[in-house]
């Protein structure tokens, strides 16, 4: 069926089309949505039709495209907002300084930090290297446009198994190993070139990610409070200055691509939706922008992300209570011949919009010229709340902002409970010794040392990374729980940064899984001596138009919100990524969290590696038989739907015990217990410190030996106590402290009356360290 008859070309020397919606049938309208790549629903197009009918004219293609961008799931969160408002947005808003492209929180009296995490899933699945790289670029801009200097990057990544059989790969899907290599390289080459350290992250593997890998990228920045800016114009008369890269045909329909399910045709159809990054344009943009801002020349700024100009112009103007007039022919282009609608919606990278008072425009242009970064005034701010666009003198767009930005908000149908049959419980066999299981866990892809990835990222550039992602004696590295940045020159105050996610738990029980993610994030921060302060989240889920998928989303958000609220932890920014599905099904529901904590004095921080022979080792927190979603059940192919819950008073008490112990220098190393349980956590501490340990777990709760060793029950830490300072560890009756044993020797010995584990540290290290190298081959 053709919709050609609905288009009327306007008589101008460039491509400009008016669309006749009034005479179109419903099927015409749907065809129009598909053909234009806007992914608008019938209901939404009808709203547009009625609007223009009232105005008595037909929309131009520029206007139609613009509405498609503004109303996409990616831009207006039409399916998720209702739940985020209900469970997350309201938490401790008093402490939130700003909620713009990135959230802003107080760091100290004079400084604030900005944080944000978002997904770059679909572009990375189609073009791993470029997709991941531009993901980094985008998140840096989000932080930058708050007036903050980016100081740290984090990247949680989720892939199918690296040894996935080629013959099982669905059509049009790239092999996990190819995606993994390309994405790590993309992050490496962009992050390293732009000079921002990558300090935290994670790599998770599961079959559900084969068809749709997840690439989440987070950024944290720091700025003086006086340099913070709103993503808003100051008022009418402000000049809109577009800075950074030129505009081209790359990245057209990025947001609508992100708001639909991947198919086997995505590769060929949507390659053009993937933007092209240029870190050596971004790096000087950071310098020039911060310099112009510090000098007071910038009234407000905003990043050009999803939707490009079409989103940024309306949003930055409306946020200042104004409208704007833009001349699209002034926009510097990569190539000639772009139609006005293409310029308007292109998502070409490395671009930002500044709102500048007329008297400062020349100064701004001068700063950017020194860095050879294009900066062009393209329009001005107007008092009435509408946007008007001109292209070579012709008016091509005239819309009220209230209509443009009033994207729909849905309360989509959501299941009341889990649908489908429950998986049967299966418990592993009891064994006399567990050395083999421990070895297997340490060598499993989800647990093993990620050094292969971490060392490809510069995690020390800017020389402020005081606690690094890899910790331990020289030559013996193991994972830390959080990194710590010392962002202010003359202050020992630190900002701890961590990543937390547990898709396995969320997949089995989204509510408890959501709680678990927040618990893990807090454990990680506390482990280095930081008090959790705020978090941001990237919520990667399937198609929200399916009620069972939306239920998973709602339950996970409810769980996260419950723990965050109890701890008074605000979430000043966030991102939702729906439609993470391929024909083979949806990905595991995957919230990934970026948590920030405050360290009063970085000189008190601790790492996870054991420090000294003879020191005591203790377990903080209670252990229960909650084996669902554990890595131990995963490797023994067992199943339980009982996943760890969070006892909030116990979590709070545990946090205070650990923080107090670190503050009093009683704790000299600390590791949270997560993937693989106590045995794996202790093995990692041994590997990092190149020490053995001898512990007795019989004073733990009365449980099966394998549960004691491998349970991933929440709110637990292992700590090494300095000799003679054991009594300094604070006590709290709401949590347990069990003295387990001591540091020493070169084997990990775990017993409970009889020996359960007795393994040489070098052998454990070999298993832990070699896996990823072997898998990437």
């Amino acid at each position: 069926m053709s919709t050609d008859r609905l288009y009327t070309r306007r008589d101008v020397p460039f491509e400009l089309v008016e669309i006749d919606l009034e005479d179109a049938s419903d099927s015409d309208l749907m065809e129009l949505s598909r053909e234009s790549g806007t992914a608008l629903s019938l209901e939404e197009i009808k709203r547009i039709r009625d609007f223009f009918k009232q105005k008595g004219r037909r929309p131009t293609d520029v206007e139609f495209q613009s509405l498609g961008q503004a109303w996409s799931e990616h831009c207006c969160y039409k399916s998720s907002k209702i739940y985020l408002k209900q469970y997350i947005f309201g938490i401790n808003t008093r402490q939130v300084i700003d909620r713009g492209d990135a959230g802003v929180m107080e760091f100290d009296k004079d400084h604030a930090y900005a944080l944000r995490i978002e997904s770059h899933n679909h572009p990375s699945a189609v073009e791993p290297y470029g997709g991941a790289a531009t993901g980094i670029g985008g998140i840096i801009r989000d932080v930058l446009c708050m007036g903050a200097q980016p100081i740290a990057l984090v990247d949680p990544l989720f892939f199918g198994p690296l040894d996935y059989p080629f013959e099982k790969l669905p059509a049009g899907i790239k092999h996990p190993k190819y995606l993994f290599g390309g994405i790590v390289a993309g992050i490496r080459d962009y992050g390293n070139r732009v000079g921002i350290p990558t300090v935290s992250g994670g790599v998770w593997f599961d079959e559900s990610y084969v068809g749709n890998c997840l690439v989440n990228v987070g950024c944290v920045g720091i700025g003086e409070k006086k340099n913070l800016r709103k993503n808003a114009v100051r008022g009418p008369g402000d000049v809109l200055v577009l800075v950074g890269g030129r505009t081209g045909r790359d990245g057209i329909h990025g947001v609508t691509f992100a708001s639909a399910v991947l198919t086997k045709e995505s590769e060929t159809e949507s390659r053009g939706a993937v933007q092209l990054g240029d870190p050596i344009m971004k790096e000087p943009v950071i310098h020039a922008l911060l310099e112009a801002n510090e000098k007071g020349y910038v009234n407000g700024m905003k990043d050009l992300g999803g939707g490009g100009l079409s989103c940024v112009v309306g949003e930055i103007a409306l946020a200042g209570g104004c409208g704007a007039e833009v001349d699209l022919s002034k926009v510097p282009l990569k190539e000639e011949g772009l139609a006005p609608w293409e310029i308007w919606v292109s998502e070409s990278q490395e671009r930002m919009m500044l709102s500048v008072s007329p008297k400062n425009v020349d100064e701004v242009l001068h700063v950017f010229r020194l860095w050879d970064v294009p900066a062009t005034p393209i329009g001005k701010v107007t008092p009435e709340k509408s946007v008007r666009l001109f292209f070579h003198g012709e008016k091509v767009f005239d819309l009220e902002l209230e209509f443009l930005t009033a994207g729909p908000e849905y309360c989509r149908p959501c299941s009341a409970e889990r649908t489908g049959s429950k998986k049967k419980e299966k418990t592993p066999q009891i064994k006399a010794k567990y050395d083999k299981e421990l070895m297997k866990l340490l060598g499993s892809a989800n647990v093993c040392n990620k050094e292969w990835v971490i060392r490809q990222y510069d995690h020390e550039v800017r020389a402020n990374t005081v606690i690094k992602p890899l910790q331990g004696k020289l030559g013996h590295s193991s994972h830390g729980d959080a990194a710590v940045i010392k962002p202010v020159e003359d202050s020992f105050r630190g900002l701890a940064i961590t990543t937390a996610s547990n898709p396995f738990a969320v997949g089995i029980d989204p509510y408890r899984g959501g709680k678990t993610c927040v618990d893990e994030m807090c454990r990680n921060l506390v482990s280095v001596g930081a008090r959790p302060h705020s978090f941001t989240n990237c919520l990667n889920f399937g198609n929200p138009e399916k009620p069972d998928r939306l239920w998973l989303f709602r339950e996970a958000v409810r769980g996260m919100g419950e723990v965050a609220k109890a701890l008074n932890l605000p979430s000043p920014s966030g991102n939702v990524s729906f439609y993470n599905e391929a024909p083979s099904g949806a990905v595991l529901p995957t919230p990934s969290l970026l948590g920030c904590g405050i360290v009063r004095d970085i000189r008190k921080c601790v790492t996870s590696d054991l420090k000294k022979e003879g020191n005591a080792i203790a377990l903080i927190g209670a252990t229960g038989p909650e084996m669902g979603a554990s890595q131990y059940y995963r490797i023994t192919k067992s199943h339980s739907s009982r996943i760890p819950d969070v006892d909030i008073p116990a979590l709070k008490a545990g946090m205070e015990v650990v923080l107090g112990g670190i503050e009093r220098s009683a704790i000299v190393s600390c590791h949270d217990i997560s993937d693989g349980g106590l045995a794996v956590a202790l093995a990692e501490m041994c590997i990092g410190g190149d020490f053995g340990a001898e512990v007795d777990v019989s004073k733990m709760e009365k449980l099966r030996s394998d549960v004691r060793l491998f349970s991933e029950a929440n709110s637990r830490w292992l700590v090494e106590l300095k000799r003679g300072k054991e009594k300094q560890l604070p006590k709290d009756r709401k949590t347990k402290v069990v003295r387990l044993g001591t540091v020493g020797g070169h084997s990990l010995k775990i017993g409970a009356g009889k020996k359960l584990v007795d393994s040489d540290i070098d052998k454990l290290a070999e298993s832990f360290n070699s896996t990823l190298w072997r898998l990437v081959g």
């Binding site: 870190p279 050596i280 490809q456 020390e460 020389a463 331990g472 030559g475």
Partner: protein
């Protein structure tokens, strides 16, 4: 000359990204560092107030990073821009025995410019060495240990005792120092004779060792070299990243004392304050 009078030029172009920490190291020692864009020295696109003259500075720093993206070859674009517009000033600066340090990308730039190893004269016409791709084929960020092998020529290491092993971390993809293969041995011998080799990669016992202790496969484990006069110094590892103890990778195991990189900056400052 007092430390507070010492002006340090921290030179940058797009993609230079270790200027903040290089600047901070010199500032901490009480000198007057300044971040200067190459265009401020060459005079393009800058106002009268922004224009700078290299001869007004006592120390020149080429910081690490990915200048111009390292897209042709690491450091090549920065070197070409410098060589075409600034050769005369640079040669004068070096002839005046003023110190120049290139760290990581800065080292690559010095080699590409012909300012190192500078076996004969101040600046060679074409590069006499290259910093090639690491044997691992990858960018790697890891702690490295350097043994000082320089006898007494280098003004950046005078305060480091002979054979002392310092922890100075590396982060690069192209750090394998190589010379023309047919003359490599002879050149290394000549560098030794001239006392131009400054640091070598070693293991915790101080012995020359292979990967990962030598992160790139560099000829004879060489991590840093200087010119014959000892006032131009280039190294791949980053002393500015370990100016303080608390940025050492394992500082929580031994938290006391200064960072191992601090001595590099103190050495050159002592040289400048005594000599100039």
């Amino acid at each position: 000359m007092k430390a507070s009078q010492v002006k340090v030029c921290v030179l940058r172009i797009e993609g230079t990204n270790c200027e903040e920490e290089s600047f901070a190291a010199f500032k901490r020692l009480g000198t007057k560092p300044e971040k200067v864009h190459l265009k401020q020295l060459t005079g393009a696109d800058v106002s009268h107030e922004e224009k700078r003259d290299l001869s007004d500075y006592q120390i020149l720093v080429l910081p690490g990073g990915f200048s111009a993206g390292d897209y042709v070859r690491a450091g090549a674009i920065f070197a070409a821009r410098m060589k075409s517009k600034l050769s005369k000033d640079l040669i004068e600066f070096i002839r005046a025995r003023k110190p120049v340090i290139g760290i990581c990308n800065g080292f690559q730039i010095l080699v590409e410019t012909g300012l190192l190893p500078a076996m004969s004269g101040v600046m060679s016409e074409v590069p006499e060495a290259v910093l090639g791709t690491n044997d691992s084929g990858r960018f790697e960020c890891r702690p490295t240990l350097l043994r000082k092998v320089n006898r007494d020529s280098c003004v950046f290491t005078a305060k480091i005792s002979p054979d002392k092993v310092s922890l100075i971390p590396s982060a690069h993809a192209e750090g394998k120092l190589m010379f023309p293969l047919d003359r490599s041995k002879k050149i290394v011998r000549e560098l030794e004779d001239n006392d131009q080799i400054v640091f070598k990669y070693v293991d915790p016992e101080g012995n020359l060792a292979v990967y990962p202790w030598c992160p790139n496969g560099s000829t004879d484990n060489i991590a840093g070299i200087c010119n014959r006069e000892g006032n131009v110094f280039g190294l791949m590892p980053h002393p500015e990243r370990v100016f303080f103890r608390f940025t050492h990778p394992d500082w929580t195991r031994a938290p006391d004392g200064p960072g191992d990189g601090r001595a590099v900056f103190e050495s050159v400052l002592e040289y400048v304050t005594k000599r100039l």
